[in-house]
């Protein structure tokens, strides 16, 4: 891989001009609502484990 990269650095310019980008045809993709009422359990558990871990480390 590094050899390839090395050779590539020294490569001459190419004059081909074929577009390889996908076609322009935009679509709207609205952000979905996923967070309803706040859920406390994971945060609470995370804090519990955090303090538990710190206590275990002394």
């Amino acid at each position: 891989m590094s050899n390839e990269a090395h050779l590539f650095e020294k490569a001459p310019e190419t004059d081909a001009h074929v577009s390889i980008a996908p076609p322009e045809a935009p679509l709207v993709m609205p952000r979905q609502q996923l967070e309803g009422a706040p859920v406390r359990a994971p945060g609470f558990l995370a804090r519990l484990m955090h303090f538990g871990g710190r206590a275990a480390q002394g």
Binding site: M1, A5, L7, F8, T14, P22, A46, H50
Partner: protein, 601 residues
């Protein structure tokens, strides 16, 4: 946006059967443990043990129920679709990549393009390779191999490549960027992984099924693992080919129209996906906040929320992927999935989701939490054993003869056998079913398949305690707020030396040794029972290194080894014909657009 399809009666029946089966078996196990533990008086540990065994046994029974349901045939009802011409429906195959082996990735695309041509789909199906590769050198190599692919397959105007410089949203963001920029050009998009392969005829059939059911938003195939070389990889490959179709059928029975999305080897209706699947960033920091890691489950839930059908058609063949070649690669991938699944705890109360989508989130969370529950059960059992009061043979002061506490050893042994049975029985039933339906022929015949099933059971039993440790660590890390990030997948050969295996599992050896030493000291009779857990932990480095060695034998034979699938043969043909390295080329010109860099040559 379609109206929500009502829940089908057979889907509801499957769900209720599985839930009742799991719940009742769990309750039975909990009752046995509780009754046996209170012989010397009720203690807190007795209640805890009963609760923990209820959870673990229910989980095992849930898996068994899935397998048992999978033995029931399923009518997919695609009907006669020969009148539908897939060439009339513009489709794009998306290949999101990030720091992958470019030669292998583009060889696969070339093979699939040949397969599509053989299916008469050239010109109707485009490819878009969507690079999220951060390393500029790697990206240039990608461009070189893309040019090779372009020349080789004359791909102008139908095989595209673009690289994002901003990796917002990781893989989900990569797909989203394509859809917002180019999605309007296509009716359907087949989403693959870098290591995916799919037959052209499979793509055609997927398009036909999407056309036949206008409410279908996403159709998931069951990808089978191919190309495994190591003992571990081949065992997984066998499992994926032999057991997974049955487990997946059971899953499909239960999920019905609220099916799964596994992130790849699936087709989506682009308009439905665009309308429903724009993922937000979750409030807070990773691992619970930020980008949604396991986006596929969420996208499936969002499509179902919007009324689209999400379906798993396990009968669709010709869909392949590669799997991890050693336990360490597996555990690394599992760490990422663990974080993604636990992050779903934030989404359990998301507005408008269907009940089953929430249940699937919960199931995904339980899949990881259960390791900790098993570990907790072992610890509580040890504590209960050590702290148990000595039996009182003369509870009555004027008693002439001793009264012995009721011996419940037989019930506990029965429970142990029952738990093991829940793990083993479904696999043996699948074996019997395969023998009766002559499916074993593709796996080297009935006797070889029987040996492979035994081998898989043995290997998975040896690996189970090691995986339990990796999963427990992953869960604890996530709960402690440690973000595992999104490391690139490690594909290809993965042979581990003993030194590498030790580096990855030395901590497991330490734990195994400590636990066994503690048991021998404080609960010698329990030590014997827990040897099947402690010994594999103590031998973890040997197990890791040994199972990563190449293994070519009749054991774990799969149909693809007897007769390779067409697209796999094409892939090997392309890979053999393409040069191992390429002639140097110039750095490509780039024009930067919104959200990404579109490269032109």
């Amino acid at each position: 946006m379609p109206d929500r399809a009502p829940l089908k009666a057979n889907t509801l029946a499957s769900r209720l059967t599985a839930i009742a089966f799991a719940g009742l078996l769990g309750l039975g196990a909990a009752g046995l443990v509780f009754e046996a533990s209170i012989q010397d008086g009720l203690q807190t540990t007795d209640v805890l043990r009963a609760l923990l065994i209820w959870m673990t046994t229910s989980w095992l029974a849930w898996g068994a129920a899935q397998a048992l349901l999978g033995l029931v045939p399923r009518r997919i009802g695609a009907g006669d679709l020969s009148g539908i011409d897939p060439r009339n429906h513009r489709t794009v195959i998306l290949v999101p990549i990030c720091n992958e082996d470019a030669r292998a990735t583009f060889s696969r695309v070339a093979a699939m393009d040949i397969s599509l041509a053989e299916a008469g789909l050239t010109g109707a199906v485009d490819f878009a390779i969507l690079s999220d590769t951060r390393d500029d050198t790697l990206a240039r190599v990608e461009r070189q191999w893309f040019d090779q692919l372009h020349r080789d397959r004359e791909g102008a105007g139908r095989i595209y490549y673009r690289r994002r410089t901003d990796n917002w949203g990781r893989k989900a963001g990569n797909i989203e960027e394509f859809i917002t920029r180019s999605g309007g050009a296509y009716e359907f998009a087949v989403i693959l992984d870098a290591d995916s392969l799919m037959e052209g005829e499979t793509v055609a059939e997927m398009v036909r099924r999407m056309v036949a059911e206008p409410r279908l938003g996403l159709l998931q195939t069951l990808p089978q693992i191919v190309g495994a070389q190591s003992l571990f990889g081949r065992a997984m490959q066998f499992s994926s080919n032999f057991f997974s179709p049955v487990f997946s059928r059971g899953l499909a029975h239960m999920q019905g129209d609220t099916g799964p999305f596994w992130g790849h080897n699936a087709i989506v209706r682009v308009r439905a996906f665009a309308e429903s699947c724009g993922l937000p960033e979750l409030k807070g920091r990773p691992p619970f906040g930020g980008h949604i890691l396991s986006h596929d489950y969420v996208e499936a839930a969002l499509l179902a929320r919007a009324g689209w059908i999400v379906r798993l058609d396990e009968d669709l063949t010709g869909s392949y992927e590669e799997g991890p070649e050693n336990i360490v690669s597996y555990a690394k991938r599992d760490r990422r999935w663990c974080q993604g699944n636990l992050q779903h705890s934030r989404l359990l109360t998301a507005p408008g989701l269907r009940f089953w989508s929430r249940f699937v989130f919960l199931q995904g969370i339980t899949a990881y939490i259960v390791s900790l529950i098993w570990a907790a059960f072992l610890i509580v059992s040890l504590v209960a054993f050590v702290t148990a009061p000595l039996p009182n043979y003369f509870p009555d002061p004027y008693q002439l003869f001793p009264s012995f506490p009721s011996d419940r050893t037989r019930e506990i042994v029965g429970l142990g056998i029952g738990v093991i049975g829940l793990l083993i029985l479904p696999k043996f039933l699948i074996l019997v079913h395969a023998m009766l339906t002559r499916r074993t022929k593709g796996f080297g015949g009935a006797f070889t398949t029987f040996r492979s099933v035994l081998g898989e059971l043995l290997l998975s039993s040896l690996m189970a305690p090691v995986m339990l440790m990796y999963q427990s660590r992953a869960v604890l890390q996530v709960l402690m707020g440690r973000d595992g990030g999104w490391p690139a997948n490690q594909r290809g050969e993965g042979r581990l030396s003993l030194r590498e295996a030790w580096a990855a599992s030395g901590w497991i050896v330490t734990w195994g040794t400590l636990v066994l030493a503690a048991l021998t000291q404080f609960a010698p009779t329990l030590a014997l029972w827990l040897l099947p857990v402690c010994v594999p932990m103590m031998a973890a480095p040997v197990l890791l290194a040994w199972s990563s060695r190449p293994a070519r034998s009749r054991l774990f034979r799969v149909p693809g080894e007897l007769e390779a699938a067409r697209v796999v043969t094409l892939y090997h043909g392309v890979a053999a014909n393409w040069p191992t390295t390429l002639e140097p080329q110039a750095a490509p010109e780039s024009d930067t657009g919104e959200g990404g860099t579109h490269v032109t040559a």
